[in-house]
Amino acid sequence: MIKVESLTKHRSGTPVLDGVTLAGEAGGVTALVGPSGSGKSTLLRCLNGLECFERGVVSIAGHRLTPGPHSGGVLEALRRDVGMVFQQFNLVPHLSVLDNVTLAPRTVLKNTVAEARSRAIELLDRVGLGSFAAARPATLSGGQQQRVAIARALAMQPQVMLFDEPTSALDPTMTAEVLEVIVDLAKAGQTMVVVTHDHGFAKRAATWVVELAAGKVARQGTAAEML
C-alpha cells in the first residue's frame, strides 16, 4: 500500500532525504526511527504531500506522487485516503470536539450532519471520549486532545494513517493511553506509519522498522530483526 523509491529532497542546498527507498511488505505497521534531525518528519510529510521532493516516487493508497509541486486535485484525493496525526494535535480551537471530528466528513465527503455526528460519536467512544463531544479542545488534557485528533483522522476512514511522534508532547500516563489507542488500531488491521522514539511500542506493534540517519536509510527490517 506504501511504496517509496529513491526519494531525494533538499532544503536550502543540503539533502534532507537522500535516496530513501522503503523495502519490505507494503502494509501493516511501519515504525520510523532514528535520531532527531535525521529526516523522519520530512519523509512522513512527503507521504501525504505536505512536502515536495526533487527525485524519486511515492505511491500510497493507490495515489502516486512525482517530483515537483503537486496539483491541488491530486493532493486532496490522496489525503482523503491518508490521514495524519501530529505531535502538537492541531485541533481547531474554536470548534467543539464533535465539530472537530465531523469537519472533514461534512466539508470533504459532504456527509449530512446526522451521518457525520453519529459516526463521530462512535469514534469518540472508540478512543474513550464519548462524553467530551461538546467540550472545547482547550479544556482537554494533551492525551485526550491527541485521541480526539486520532478520531478526527479516522473519521475520513483513511487507508493509511501517518503518526508523527504522536506522544512526544505527552507525559507517561497520557502516552500510555494514546499508545493504547494506536495499538488497538494496529490490531484492527489499520495500515500506518509511525515516527517514534519508543522502542517498546515499536517492538509491540510494528511489522517493519526503518531507521533513518542523516537522510539515508541506515537499516530496515522486521521488528524482530531490528530490535
Binding site: N48, E76, N90, V92, A104, R136
Partner: protein, 515 residues
C-alpha cells in the same frame, strides 16, 4: 510725590506711586479694551483678512499666471481697505463656510462674498454693503431645466438635483423655496463653487445656483453650461468682523465709505468687468437690514434637533454600510496576498499601498468628481460608502494578513491533511481563528471609521459633524450646538462600544457546540 522726606517714607511713597500707576494703567486699558484691536492692527502694520481661494473667481482665486499668488476683486478691495487703515493686507486661507470662525483666531476680518443677512447682523460686525449680487440658476445647454419655471415640477427622473455652495445664500434660498414646495429639488451642498459647476457639466447635477458674478466669470471655461432664466434673488456682500472689535468695524466701514465716495470702488469693479456704475446705483439704494432676534435655547434645540438627528442617521448609515464591505474586501485581499496565485500578489500589494498611501479625501474626490468624467457617475452616498469601504479595506487587509499569519501553521497543515482544499481550510479553520485574533484592532478601526465619515461632506454627503458646523455658523450658536452634537455622538458611540464588547465576548465564549 515730590516731598523730600526721610528715606523710609520715600520708599513708601515710591511703592504707593507704583501701585497707583499700575491701577491707573489697568483702568486705562479696560476703558480702551474694546477699541484696542485697531491699535493692534496698526502696530502690527497688517490687516489679516480671511477668504477661501477655492471659492473661485472673480472674488479670490489663484493667479493663473502664478498660482502661488492670489488675485480677484476682493484681493484688491482688501488692499484698498488696508491702505485706508494705513497698513498692509495679509491674506489668510480658510474653508468658506467656516471663515467667520477665523475671526475668533487670527483674522481681523472676512472679505469673501459674505452675504449680509439678519443673522450675521446679529452675530458679527457687518460693514456697509460693498457689492450687490444676484442668484443665478445654471443648467446644461440643450438639457432640462430650460427655465426657472421648470423647477416647479419634478424633472424627468424625480426631483431636480441642484448644487449650491454650502452655507451660501444660494443654499438658504433654495432650501427655503424647496421646503415651501415652490421648487421640486434636492439641494446638494458643495465645499467649492467650482465643484458644482463641474458636476453640472458632467451631468451628475441638473443645475446649480450661485452668485451671478461667479457664473459670468467662468462662463467661457464651462462652455456646455448656460444661464437658466434671469437672476431671481439677491443681496449684498459685507465685510465681516468680530463682535468684540467694534472700532475696527467702524474703521473698515469708514474706509469703504471713502472708497465708494471717491470712485475707487467703481474703478475696481470696472477693471474686473463687474459693471461699476450699476453696482454704485445698487449700493446707493441698499436698504438697511435689521439684525435677527436671538433664539431661546429651547427654540434652538427644537429647530435643529430633527436636522442633527437625521444627519446622525447618515453617520450611522455610512459606517454600517461601508465597514462590512471594507472587511469583506480586506479579507479577500489578505487571502489573495497570502494564499493566491503568485501573479495576483503584486497588484494586490499595489492596491493596499496606494489606498494606504493616499488620503481618504483624495480618494473620495476621485470617485465622486473624476469617475463621472469617464462616464461612471455614482450618487454621492454610493461614492461615499465605496470610498470609505475601499480606503478601510486596505487597513483591514493588513490586519487580516497579520491575523492569518498568527494562526499556527500546524492548523493549516492539519486541515489539509484531512483532505480539505486550501479554500475549505481557509473558510473553516484559518479565517474563523484569524477573525477572533484581530477582533480588537478591527473594533477600534470601526470606531475610527465612524469618525472618518465626516470627510464625506467634501463630496456633499452631510453627516453629523458637517450639519453641526453649518447650523452652528448659520445660527451663531457654536457652543450650545456643540454640546447637543457631542451628546448625540455619545449616544451613538456608547451602544457601539457595548455592541463590540458583546461581540468580543460572544466570540470568546467557551464550550457549546455550533450546529
Amino acid at each position: 510725590m515730590t516731598a523730600p522726606e526721610p528715606a523710609k517714607q520715600a520708599a513708601t511713597t515710591r511703592r504707593f506711586g507704583t501701585c497707583a500707576w499700575g491701577l491707573l494703567s489697568i483702568c486705562f486699558t479696560a476703558s480702551l479694551l474694546d477699541g484696542a484691536e485697531l491699535d493692534e492692527v496698526r502696530r502690527r502694520g497688517e490687516l489679516v483678512w480671511a477668504a477661501d481661494q477655492e471659492g473661485g473667481g472673480p472674488h479670490v482665486f489663484p493667479d493663473p499666471a502664478d498660482p502661488r499668488q492670489i488675485t480677484g476683486f476682493e484681493v484688491e478691495l482688501a488692499e484698498l481697505i488696508a491702505g485706508e487703515l494705513g497698513v498692509k493686507a495679509r491674506f489668510l486661507q480658510g474653508q468658506w463656510d467656516r471663515l467667520p470662525l477665523l475671526l475668533e483666531q487670527s483674522a481681523d476680518c472676512v472679505i469673501n462674498g459674505i452675504e449680509l443677512t439678519p443673522e450675521r447682523r446679529r452675530d458679527y460686525g457687518c460693514s456697509r454693503p460693498y457689492f450687490s449680487y444676484a442668484l443665478q440658476a445654471l443648467g446644461r445647454r440643450g438639457a432640462a431645466p430650460a427655465s426657472f419655471a421648470d423647477l416647479a415640477e419634478p424633472g424627468p427622473s424625480g426631483p431636480w438635483r441642484v448644487g449650491v455652495l454650502t452655507g451660501s445664500a444660494a443654499e438658504t434660498e433654495m432650501r427655503a423655496r424647496s421646503s415651501r414646495g415652490e421648487v421640486q429639488m434636492e439641494v446638494i451642498g458643495y465645499d467649492g463653487t467650482l465643484d458644482s459647476l463641474e458636476q453640472v457639466q458632467s451631468a451628475v447635477l441638473d443645475a446649480a445656483v450661485m452668485d451671478d458674478c461667479i457664473f459670468a466669470f467662468y462662463a467661457d471655461r464651462y462652455g456646455k453650461l448656460r444661464a437658466v432664466d434671469r437672476p431671481f434673488a439677491g443681496g449684498f456682500y459685507t465685510v465681516l468682523t468680530a463682535r468684540s472689535t467694534p472700532r475696527l468695524a467702524v474703521a473698515i466701514d469708514d474706509a469703504l465709505g471713502t472708497l465708494l465716495a471717491d470712485g475707487r470702488l467703481k474703478a475696481l469693479y470696472d477693471r474686473w468687468d463687474l459693471a461699476g456704475r450699476q453696482q454704485m446705483l445698487l449700493l446707493r439704494d441698499a436698504a438697511e437690514i435689521p439684525p435677527a432676534s436671538q433664539r431661546t435655547l429651547v427654540e434652538l434645540i427644537r429647530q435643529t434637533l430633527p436636522l442633527l438627528l437625521s444627519s446622525a442617521g447618515m453617520t450611522i448609515l455610512l459606517s454600517c454600510a461601508s465597514f462590512p464591505l471594507a472587511i469583506a474586501i480586506g479579507l479577500a485581499v489578505a487571502i489573495g496576498r497570502l494564499y493566491g496565485p503568485s501573479w495576483l500578489k503584486p497588484p494586490l500589494t499595489a492596491y493596499v499601498e496606494v489606498l494606504r498611501g493616499t488620503p481618504l479625501m483624495l480618494q473620495l474626490y476621485a470617485i465622486f468628481f473624476l469617475l463621472p468624467k469617464v462616464g461612471l457617475a455614482l450618487p454621492a452616498l454610493m461614492a461615499a460608502i465605496l470610498g470609505l469601504a475601499l480606503n478601510y479595506s486596505a487597513y483591514e487587509s493588513e490586519i487580516y494578513r497579520a491575523g492569518l499569519k498568527a494562526v499556527p501553521l500546524g492548523q493549516f497543515e492539519a486541515a489539509l491533511s484531512l483532505g480539505l482544499s486550501k479554500w475549505q481550510a481557509l473558510r473553516h479553520v484559518l479565517v474563523p481563528q484569524a477573525v477572533r485574533i484581530v477582533m480588537p484592532p478591527v473594533t477600534s478601526d470601526f470606531i475610527a471609521l465612524f469618525k472618518d465619515t465626516s470627510v464625506c461632506s467634501a463630496i456633499t454627503v452631510i453627516e453629523l459633524t458637517k450639519r453641526y458646523s453649518v447650523l452652528a455658523l448659520s445660527m451663531g450658536r457654536i457652543v450650545e450646538l456643540a454640546m447637543v452634537t457631542a451628546l448625540i455622538y455619545l449616544c451613538m458611540s456608547w451602544p457601539l462600544s457595548l455592541l463590540s464588547r458583546w461581540f468580543e465576548a460572544r466570540l470568546e465564549r467557551p464550550a457549546g457546540t455550533t450546529p
